[in-house]
Subunit: 234 residues, 4 copies
Amino acid sequence: MKHPLARRVAAEFLGTGFLVAAVVGSGVMGERLSNGNVALALLCNSIATGAVLVALILTFGSVSGAHFNPVVTLSDAIEKGIHWNEVPAYIAAQVLGGICGTVAAHLMFGLPVVSISHHHRSGVAQVFSEFIATFGLLSVIWGCSRLQSTAMPFAVGAYITAAYWFTASTSFANPAATISRSLSDTFAGIRPQNVLPFILAQTLGGLAATFAFRSLVPDLSVQAKKVLLRHSVE
Amino acid sequence: MKHPLARRVAAEFLGTGFLVAAVVGSGVMGERLSNGNVALALLCNSIATGAVLVALILTFGSVSGAHFNPVVTLSDAIEKGIHWNEVPAYIAAQVLGGICGTVAAHLMFGLPVVSISHHHRSGVAQVFSEFIATFGLLSVIWGCSRLQSTAMPFAVGAYITAAYWFTASTSFANPAATISRSLSDTFAGIRPQNVLPFILAQTLGGLAATFAFRSLVPDLSVQAKKVLLRHSVE
Amino acid sequence: MKHPLARRVAAEFLGTGFLVAAVVGSGVMGERLSNGNVALALLCNSIATGAVLVALILTFGSVSGAHFNPVVTLSDAIEKGIHWNEVPAYIAAQVLGGICGTVAAHLMFGLPVVSISHHHRSGVAQVFSEFIATFGLLSVIWGCSRLQSTAMPFAVGAYITAAYWFTASTSFANPAATISRSLSDTFAGIRPQNVLPFILAQTLGGLAATFAFRSLVPDLSVQAKKVLLRHSVE
Amino acid sequence: MKHPLARRVAAEFLGTGFLVAAVVGSGVMGERLSNGNVALALLCNSIATGAVLVALILTFGSVSGAHFNPVVTLSDAIEKGIHWNEVPAYIAAQVLGGICGTVAAHLMFGLPVVSISHHHRSGVAQVFSEFIATFGLLSVIWGCSRLQSTAMPFAVGAYITAAYWFTASTSFANPAATISRSLSDTFAGIRPQNVLPFILAQTLGGLAATFAFRSLVPDLSVQAKKVLLRHSVE
């Protein structure tokens, strides 16, 4: 039995907020302390992001499914895990939560409430990276959803830590996080004009993985209502 | 069936002692070896702290609940997981254990038994960081307590590793650790005059998360006696 | 009940592709950002590889067994976990998937589609390292296969992260990955003329571990059909 | 039902061999690549050691209990988990396995088969560190043995990764490893004349934890035959 929508939306808001605060905040801390060694800053950033994902998915998974990501919500709706009329509320909560996460990180580090990023992230290689990154993320989610759902928080956290390193874009893989990070002129930022291509590539990558896994595991849609972490409540 | 109070208090003393010894000791080791690269020192410090938390919560969780933290004990009492008349013994054991942890770390590294910290940690950004850090910690604890309790040691360890990086204060999030760390003029120290604002912010953040999760998961208090790791004994 | 061969082969292709993309891509990223500090580049490379293995084995294990490695497939066939007539398809998918992984990593980082490696990896010490590395990998797999199969993704990921550091060759331990990495003139590459000795040592190490574990745990072959992750589907 | 002694001893030999090879080998690799940054070398060393422990305990735990450590074997005998007449075989296998691990690491890195260490590790602070390190290790083992035995591999791996950092001695905590490491004049070595005080402190620390946990959890000895990982076979 699912929780009422209001509670699930609140969980998405809080979870996405903490996720983006962790991405932005650990980027600021890593850059400040690493004396210009970008590999070290990114290592701290990637470990912090992967670790907080493990904690947040375990924390909010049984309430809302711990999507924290419009592409995950879209994919879940396609597989009938969430009703289409609940999708807008989920996505709005994720985007709003992410922006509040940026603001919280800025306040914790004594920065202006928001600041427009000047971090260039453009070009075919970057956009292709986002396609691959999100294809992989949704593959992990659907691959774990049937038989390994208790391990999913660890799978997703481990995947994202790795994907920071094996994609040229550091694997945003999340439209809500992409929008939120455009409001932070820090290590983890992205210029507003680079946001849309990222979101398109993320959406295409996520859809491609969703349909690929439907072929790979045909009984996936039969199990749709039980997929993702949410159903551990049922 | 709970263990007798004396045993639970001994577990809180030992666990908090090892936790603070790990925080202080790994700070000393990280600073000594990292040639002034603070990001590297903090990376070692944060990995050691998160890892020892995983081990200690698994070790002592089934005896005392592995609070190691007065805010966790307070929150557990509010949710009726522990009797109010047992709270003072828990908190005393945590503070005393933490101080002994500082002493043990100092002796292991050939330092004076105690030393008053001169590490400035003040200002609105630092105090707000502690509010957020402890709000997040208690969210993780209550979010995992119902359905993910076997994963809680990993969730808490991962959260704290991340929170070192995404908060400006490196996430003390624990009044007993804060007091103990004021007695160590090393990497992990905090000036005594900065302790009280930290503890207030931690307590407020913990209370806010406790009440937020009561709204988010209303059957939480019904399940109160089973929350936190302790009841895995029952 | 096993999935049809076509689906299992597709899973091996995708999984090995992502694995090699992660190895090659994180090597490029690590080297680019670490200002010539090879230990730091290798740390990022090893953490990314171990983490992606955890995610990929959890994702594809229930479909194909998540071999991603011809030596694992060979060993599984010896223990009757997979039919010998399915072995060529598995190995072809792994090699082809690995090559596509190299290509994908190159495209993500704006490099030529393929490039022949000039990275010297020769000599007795390197080859002996590959024997030990693969002996250890197959030991972990067979040691976990009977009673710890749910923990196998974590055991394999942890083992490989460690083996990057305790072998002089950084532990390729996988013929498909070795071939694929010869097509990348980057951090993770290997000269084509060094590939064959690596593959021979890997095969011998894997066979030695397979027969060692047959002595150590004699009921292993009785349990053959249930070994490796695949049978969690049965 | 336990495995025959010969098989259990073989598992202890192999497991301790891989453990020491990982400690020594990752120390060599870390020191070679880190340009004199000792914190970075130790970070790689500690992550590799913790990770290989997770893999090895999962691999050999169901055969021999995965002691890999004479103090663990001694403590298990005190708690009646292993017969006293089996203790000498266990300890001999651990010491011999550890020495072979040193040799294997040296051969993998093209070093002389053995070399006497000149690494000073003496003084009260170092010896006290070993007491604390081993007290903690045995606390983790006995604390997890009753109710968290499936998590023990992760608890021990996490504990040792942390203990590298919070003890001045980098936490040998194992007489077999201490002896083996005296034969390696590398990063992880220890001068032969410093071995005995380390072993005495380790033994005392382990005994203290064993008796402390007997008080803390009085039904521990009733459960003795089921303690440690071995009994997952029963």
